[in-house]
Each structure stands twice: as structure tokens, then as C-alpha cells.
């Protein structure tokens, strides 16, 4: 089983468009993991059936029992997150601020504070319209710990791929380089970087590449909207070359893609030309994966 993670650093470069196209092309061979749990979008194109769902509890939340609380103020003094609030002598916890460390609950002299499991999202295991099995999630607004939920989505996807002896897991990652990105990288076999020719995308690409370096994962690159800025395209190519990142495709901007997406379809379904581009990408990814195998 090979795990392919689609990343970019900058948001909106086309990660999900590429990942969903690959999912359509791979069909039942690939398990899909939408690890951009903050802003999950794969379901809009792959239209999974949301067949199985379960609540996800990521961490805990402090709750003050006002009957037992003596308003001594120790929790307020010790909380580093400013999560304890008082209104009319009554102490309570601001759930947006509480990071679930449990310190207050340990030190409360009258044990008036309980740590309760905190529902931070919902996990789904579905079948997509392309016959993939798909693991995806929704997060409660403003929730903590999206990294934990990402890890859970990946674990489930691996389990399914293992049980069914499926060769691929396609992981749609999140923008940035913080905990959800690190969680999506751990254990991956290949990273596909989707970038675009702009100062911002190039800046973010450089930073996320440094994070990927630590994981020593084979990385290939796609330049999306490649006709927007030729100068930046050559800067990206120089960077790819320096980093040993093989460019597997460049895709010109197409106003059609947005229209096709609005109809819930992927790039691979938006006409012959786009179809050919995405097929070639999928073929090259599969080839690169075989190369990793022979390197070993």
C-alpha cells in the first residue's frame, strides 16, 4: 500500500482539484483520505454516501460544577490560557480558550472541576461515486486539535486499504505547515506539491518543503495556473531542480474548471484535454512509486 499526500503550503493552488481527479481515475484501487479537516472539500466533488459516521472526541474540556465551587480563584490564577471567566462571582470555563490541560482540575481544592471528553468533530467512512472508499471528517467550528482528527482519518484509511489489500491511499492535505500538515505527512510514501506561479505560492512552497525534508519523502511537483506568470514559473522550476523535485505537470488556467467544479465534477471530467493531463499525472505518480520500490 502506498500513501500519496497532496500538499501546497499556500491554500487555493488546486490541491483538492488534483486529489479528486486522481480519486476518479484510480477508482476502487484507492482509498481517499480528506485530511484538510478544517475545510474539507473532497466530498463536494466525489459525493460520498456518508454511510458510516461516528463522533470524534479530541481532548477534553474543563467544566466547573458551580454547586461545589467556593470561588477561591486558584483555577483562574493557574490557567495559562485565560480560559477561566468570572461573572457575578460565578466561575466558568470559556470553551474556546480551554486547551484541556486539566491543571485546574488537579489543583482545585474542592474537586469542583471535571475534565469531560470534548466532541470536536465527526468522522465518516463512505463510498464515493467513483467506487473509492473514503474517510473524511467535519470539525466543530473553532475546534482544537485538528492534527488529532487528521491522524484518525489517516489511521482509518490505512486500515481499510490494509484489510482490502488496496494499493493506494490518496490524501488531500491542508494548507500551511502546522500540526494538521505534519500529521498528514507522517508515514506517507510520496508528496505531490501543487503550486502556482506567484510570489506567495513560491514563498509558501519553500517553507513547506523544509517541513517535508524532515520526513525524507519522495516529492514531485505540479505547477497549476502555469500561464499566469512565466517569470515565476521559471523560478519554481529552478527551485524544483535544486530540491530534486520532479515536475510531473504544468496546467494552464482554465475558466472552465471553476464551471465544471460548480457542477460537482473534477478536472479529469472537464473535457478531453484536462482528462489527458490528469491521466498523465496519475500515470507519472504510479511510475514514481514503482521507482521508490526499486530504489529500496
Amino acid at each position: 500500500m502506498k500513501e500519496i499526500v497532496i500538499l501546497s503550503g499556500k491554500g487555493g493552488t488546486g490541491k483538492t482539484s488534483v486529489a479528486a481527479s486522481l480519486a476518479i481515475l484510480a477508482g476502487p484501487d484507492a482509498v481517499i483520505a480528506d485530511c484538510d479537516v478544517d475545510a474539507a472539500n473532497m466530498h463536494l466533488l466525489l459525493r460520498p454516501d456518508f454511510k458510516e459516521s461516528s463522533d470524534f472526541y479530541g481532548g477534553t474540556l474543563a467544566v466547573i460544577n458551580s454547586d461545589e465551587c467556593t470561588s477561591c480563584g486558584l483555577c483562574l490564577e493557574k490557567c495559562r490560557f485565560g480560559a477561566i471567566t468570572i461573572s457575578r462571582q460565578l466561575y466558568s470555563v470559556n470553551s474556546f480558550e480551554c486547551e484541556g490541560c486539566g491543571y485546574c482540575s488537579i489543583i482545585c481544592p474542592v474537586t469542583a472541576i471535571d475534565m469531560v471528553p470534548r466532541k470536536t468533530g465527526k468522522l465518516y467512512i463512505s463510498k464515493t461515486r467513483a467506487g473509492n472508499q473514503m474517510v473524511h471528517a467535519t470539525m466543530e467550528a473553532g475546534a482544537e486539535n485538528s492534527g488529532k482528527l487528521v491522524t484518525k482519518v489517516k489511521q482509518e484509511a490505512k486500515l481499510i486499504a490494509g484489510e482490502n489489500a488496496l494499493p493506494y491511499i490518496i490524501v488531500d492535505g491542508s494548507p500551511g505547515l502546522g500540526c494538521p500538515v505534519v500529521a498528514s505527512l507522517s508515514g506517507a510514501d510520496m508528496v505531490v506539491l501543487v503550486t502556482e506561479p506567484s510570489v506567495s505560492a513560491l514563498h509558501d512552497l519553500r517553507r513547506v518543503s523544509r517541513v517535508i525534508e524532515n520526513f525524507r519523502i519522495k516529492t514531485v511537483g505540479i505547477i497549476n495556473k502555469s500561464d499566469i506568470n512565466d517569470g515565476k514559473v521559471s523560478e519554481i522550476r529552478k527551485f524544483f531542480e535544486k530540491e530534486g523535485i520532479r515536475e510531473i505537470a504544468s496546467i494552464p488556467y482554465s475558466s472552465e474548471v471553476a464551471m465544471v467544479m460548480a457542477r460537482g465534477l473534477t478536472m479529469s471530467e472537464s473535457g478531453e484535454e484536462q482528462k489527458k493531463v490528469t491521466e498523465e499525472i496519475w500515470m507519472k505518480i504510479k511510475n514514481e512509486l514503482t521507482l521508490i520500490e526499486t530504489d529500496k
Binding site: 503550503g9 499556500k10 474556546f96 490541560c101 505547515l177 500540526c179 523544509r210 499566469i228 471553476a258
Partner: protein
């Protein structure tokens, strides 16, 4: 054309967050163009809180001010003092402090700096020490001050840096009457940290199913924080009308529609401020600011 003096709100500072849910919809584009335009008539602070991938500075030419190194505190095991009582590892909810035989291991990345292990240790064997997480730098360009937070690559938690940058405004960072906060994408804890101290959130979206889906989650997040919000539809004309319909149904104000314009895309890809070149952007940005200040005033 010279802009008329902006109608400043009753001597009060206005703090505007620019957020989105989905990445790449144009948060930074809007934040830098709006901040720069407004700085023609008033001191403006632009704070880049997208500390994982800060991009605002790519658009602002100016002189570099002081750079502040930023730290958070994490425990460091003092072997000599420790008696392996195990209170620390039992008090850590993040498994960041773990007893491995007669060794206490600290995993920096998992630590949330709650101080429980350190303060509960009866032998002072886990003093909190500084751990560098990133930097805040300032760039001055006319009446615009850019304060950029930049997380070190390899650091996973952006919230402590976002919180610290917020706290610097009014201390190390001059608090201008207009403050614009360029926020991280997503809808989880970094966004909450970035948006929570602001008066109003401009949610930038695009008219696609992705834009709408993420807009609806972001709108819910700011609503729960009690922050009023309006929507800017960027790349108007691509995709469909679903975002517009959603805003109508939910009673969320559409502040502006910025057409998909290849010239804007090209300017922005070069790191240029598009409002200097694309004529209709000036009045459009000014309108956004006027509506937002009106909404803040009416609170």
C-alpha cells in the same frame, strides 16, 4: 484622483479581521491592498497572523524595523533533582511528559505550555525554559506599519505566536486607528486565536462549491465568537451564484464583489498592489471600509 479624508469612526480604533475558511481565496490580496490604500489618509497597522505562511510582506516595500524573537515555555527535565515520583507524567494530558523507566522524557511538540508538570513537581525538577517558536518583525512604509508573525518551520503550534502578536499591539507595536489582521485559513484554533480580539471579520470567498462550503463553516466560527461579519466575493463571475444565494438566505451582508480579472491575478502573482494599477479597485476597497466602519459604529 485624491481620496477624500476617510470618515474615521468616533476616535475609536477599528480592528478588522480578514479571514476565509478556504485558503487562496484572496485574504492577503484584500488585506494588503486595503491596508495600503487606507494608509494614504491615516496611520494603519497591518498584522500578518497567518504565521505558518505569512505573505503580506511580499507586497509591502518599506524599511525594516526591529525583529522580536518569540518564545514559549516548555519544561526541561533536571535529572539531578528528579526522584521519579511520576507526578509530572500523570498530570500531563498531552503525553508530552512521559516516564520511560528512570528517565522523564519531554516531547516539545506535544507540550501546550500549561505549566502543570513544572508547578506540581515537588522537587523543582521540571523548570520551564524558553523555546524559540518564531519571530515578529515590523516593516514601515509611509503611514503603514506591517507587523508580521513568522513561525519557525518545524514548529507545529501557531496559536502561541498569534496570541503573542496580538498582545504586542499597544506595546512594542504602535496601535494605529485602523488595524487590519490578515488571518490564517481554516476554521480551527489558529483562526479563533487570530479573529477573537477584532471588531469585525471580512470573510473573503470565491463563488465555487469549495468557497461556499468553507465560508459557511468560517461564518459559524466567527458567529460563535460573537464577531459581526460580512462577505467579499472574490473572482466574481467564475463558478456559480450559490455563495450569493447563501448570503441572502443567511442574512449575511455582501460587502463587495471583485470580478475575476486576469490583470489582478498577474499583478498579485508578482507581489504588486493591484489597486495602484486596476482603477475600479480603489472605490471598491474604500466602499468596503466605509460599510465595515458603519457596521462597527452601529454596534
Amino acid at each position: 484622483m485624491r481620496l477624500p479624508e476617510l470618515n474615521m469612526t468616533k476616535n475609536k480604533t477599528v480592528k478588522i479581521a480578514v479571514a476565509s475558511g478556504k485558503g487562496g481565496t484572496g485574504k492577503t490580496f484584500l488585506a494588503v491592498n486595503l491596508a495600503s490604500l487606507l494608509s494614504e489618509t491615516s496611520p494603519v497597522l497591518l498584522a500578518d497572523l497567518d504565521v505558518e505562511e505569512p505573505n503580506s510582506a511580499l507586497f509591502i516595500d518599506g524599511t525594516e524595523g526591529q525583529v522580536y524573537e518569540k518564545y514559549r515555555l516548555i519544561p526541561q527535565w533536571d535529572e539531578k533533582r528528579c526522584v521519579i515520583c511520576d507526578i509530572c507524567s500523570r498530570s500531563c494530558n498531552y503525553h508530552a511528559v512521559v516516564r520511560l523507566g528512570d528517565v522523564i522524557a519531554v516531547f516539545d511538540k506535544l507540550c501546550h505550555s500549561c505549566h502543570a508538570c513544572s508547578e506540581l513537581c515537588p522537587y523543582d525538577a521540571l523548570p520551564m525554559i524558553r523555546h524559540k517558536i518564531g519571530e515578529v518583525r515590523q516593516i514601515y512604509s509611509g503611514r503603514l506599519t506591517l507587523a508580521e508573525g513568522r513561525l519557525n518551520t518545524g514548529e507545529e503550534q501557531s496559536v502561541p505566536l498569534i496570541d503573542q502578536l496580538h498582545k504586542m499591539v499597544g506595546c512594542e507595536i504602535e496601535p494605529a486607528p485602523v488595524q487590519i489582521f490578515d488571518c490564517p485559513p481554516g476554521t480551527s484554533c489558529p483562526v479563533v486565536a487570530a479573529v477573537k480580539k477584532t471588531d469585525y471579520a471580512i470573510l473573503v470567498t470565491e463563488p465555487t462549491p469549495f468557497g461556499l462550503n468553507d465560508l459557511s463553516i468560517a461564518a459559524e466560527t466567527v458567529k460563535q465568537l460573537g464577531i459581526p461579519a460580512g462577505v467579499v466575493i472574490n473572482r466574481y463571475g467564475i463558478g456559480d451564484n450559490a455563495v450569493e444565494d447563501w448570503c441572502n438566505n443567511e442574512g449575511v451582508e455582501v460587502l463587495a464583489r471583485i470580478p475575476y480579472d486576469r490583470e489582478i491575478a498577474v499583478m498579485t502573482s508578482e507581489g504588486l498592489l493591484a489597486y495602484n494599477h486596476v482603477e475600479y479597485l480603489r472605490p471598491l476597497l474604500k466602499d468596503i471600509f466605509e460599510i465595515v466602519t458603519k457596521r462597527i459604529d452601529s454596534l
